[in-house]
Structures are given as C-alpha cells and as structure tokens.
Subunit: 200 residues, 2 copies
C-alpha cells in the first residue's frame, strides 16, 4: 500500500474521531452525561452505531479523548524548558501558567463542566489530577533531582497541581468573560505563598 | 419498650457491624478486594448472607464503614479548638497533626492499603480527600471567615489536605516501625514551607 494512501486514511480516521468526540461532548453538556445514550451520539454524529463503537466503545472513552490530550507530556516539555537556576516551584508555576494559557479552549471548558456534573465523573477527574501530579513530579525529578531531595520535589508537585485544580474550580464558577485561567492560577499561588508566610 | 433494652439492641447492632467490617477488611487485605465475595465475608463473619446484606449491601459499604468515620466532623471540632490568634495554616497543621496521631490504628493502615490496591478504589479514595478538603474549608471559613477572604482559606485547605495525602502515601511505603504519620505530616509542611520560601 502506498504511503500517501495510508496517511489519507489516518487523517480521515482522526477527523472522524474528532467529529464524534465533539458531537458527544456537546450532547453531554446539553442533555447531561447520564442521559446521553451511545445511540444518540451515533445519530447526532451521522454515523452508524457500528462505526461509533469502532471509534469509541463507551461514553467514558469519548470524555477521555478530551482528557488524555497531551497535557502530561506537554507539562514535562514545558518544565524541562525552564531556566536551570529557577527554584522548582517557580519553574512549575511558570510551566503551568504557560500551558493553561495555551489549553484554555471552549472544549476544555466544556469537558470541565461535564466532568463536574456527576459524582462518578468527579471521582474519575480527581484521578486525572493525580496523574498530572505524578507527571509533574517525574519532570521535577528529571530537572532538579540532583539539587533537591525527592520529598521536597513531591511537595512542589502536590501544591502546584493543587493550585491548578483550585484555579479550574474558580474558573468554572465564573462567566466566560472574566479572569482567564492563567491569572486565576497566579492568584492561587499568591494565596499559597501568603498562607505559608504565616507558618512559624 | 424500656429505654435500656433499646440501648442494648443498638449496642449489639454496633458490635455486629464492627465485627463484619473487621472481617471484611481482613479478607480484602488477604485475598484482594476484587477477589473477595460477599458470600466469603458472610462465611468468615459467621453470619447468614441475609444478615450480612442487612448490615452492608455491598463491599464498598464495608470499606466506607472505615472511611466515613468521623474524620470530617472531628476535623471541624479540632479546628474550632485552635487558638483564635493562630494563622489559618498553623491552626490547620496543628489540628491535622492531632487528628492523625489519634487515628493511626492498625485498621486505618489496612484500609489505606486496600484503597490503593485497585485503580477504581484509588479513584474513589481521591474523592474522599476532596470531601476532607471541603470539610476543612468549611471549618476554616467558620473560624477565620471574618479575618481572611474565602479564596485565601481555600488555598490553606488545599495545601493542608494535600500534605496529609502525601504523608499517608509515604507512611504506606514504610515499614510499620518507622516514622509515625504525624511526624511525616510535619515533614511535608516543612517541605511546602521551604519550596514556597523560594517563590519570588
């Protein structure tokens, strides 16, 4: 099979995945996640149920299409690009602010709302934050492992991703026109800093 | 019905609950959570399946017996007992250290191991940390709501419960004879403080 044809097929596959994932996300938002059937996703996407199941076996997979993203991988790249003489928490804060500024799209906001619409999805979302924390922890170890001990870096990862989680929560509570996510994130870091400044 | 008899019945009910919950927890640890059937819990507890289902409908309920505890309520009481002039993070740290010193029992360590034995349980456990964070946040608002703004207190709750989570993780990785949980927790707070001290 010629290489060009293979690439075309891959592109069509990617476009179909994205089309179905966009349709599914829109239905989850409009009708509720639990109320949306796979049948409804197939109909609204204009594909046969068989085709849908070929692309996404379950509704959860449709959500995961949006969640998985490359966030963990991009977080690592962004961390490794920070100046060598930055303190770990400064580097993590800068990397996260850069990433969220790039990642705040209408889809990411919709995914966030759907993920907060049922207790089961909220629980699964918490697991995602733990994955991100692990990814940041590994990147920190790679970058600063010779200068800082592992437990110190683990604390940096915990509070950086915790700050991101709070920023996302606050962003969700606000109308779309208000403070962007990277500014919310900077504010949480300031609050953390102020609280810790009072530790004796 | 005389009051005394009612109390006796309640006490028997409480003892049976605890006996079944202890047996279930032991089986989860020994055989694995997914491999343990409700039938096996009934047999090992020496009760009829009907009786078991009367007390605990599902395995999840047995785990929740241990999780729910009164941790959230006790956290609130412990927070409200802290001196009025303590900074919020200092009060939260002290309250958590007091609580974990009381709560570190062989059962709490076993529950923690079972909760980390499957991905689904780990996800459900993350939701528990969010519940604790909410409980601490409410207690902080009750205690310090007039002096500090809500977002500042939310950051305190995030990093306090994040510190507790890391302390529990480290405790799980250590042999039973080593550093107790409240000392692990104090160490995480020191690491947070050291990391934030380098923020510019």
């Amino acid at each position: 099979m010629p290489q060009g044809e293979e690439t075309l097929r891959q592109r069509r596959r990617r476009e179909t995945s994205r089309h179905i994932a966009e349709t599914g996300l829109r239905l989850f938002e409009q009708q509720g996640y639990d109320q949306t059937t796979m049948q409804a996703v197939a109909e609204a996407s204009g594909v046969a149920p068989r085709t849908l199941f070929h692309y996404f076996e379950t509704k959860d997979r449709i959500l995961r299409y949006w969640l998985a993203g490359e966030f963990a991988g991009e977080l690592r790249s962004a961390m490794l690009e920070q100046p060598a003489n930055s303190a770990p928490l400064v580097a993590a804060r800068t990397a996260l602010r850069e990433l969220v500024a790039q990642h705040e799209t209408p889809e990411s906001l919709a995914v966030d709302r759907v993920l907060n619409s049922t207790p089961a999805l909220r629980a699964s979302k918490q697991a995602t934050f733990i994955d991100w924390e692990d990814a940041l922890n590994e990147a920190l170890a790679e970058r600063y492992g010779t200068q800082f001990d592992a437990e110190q870096l683990q604390a940096v990862a915990m509070l950086s991703i915790g700050a991101l989680r709070l920023a996302l929560e606050r962003r969700r509570g606000e109308p779309e026109s208000s403070v962007p996510l990277d500014r919310q994130l900077a504010a949480v870091f300031e609050q953390v800093s102020s609280a810790v400044g009072r530790l004796t």
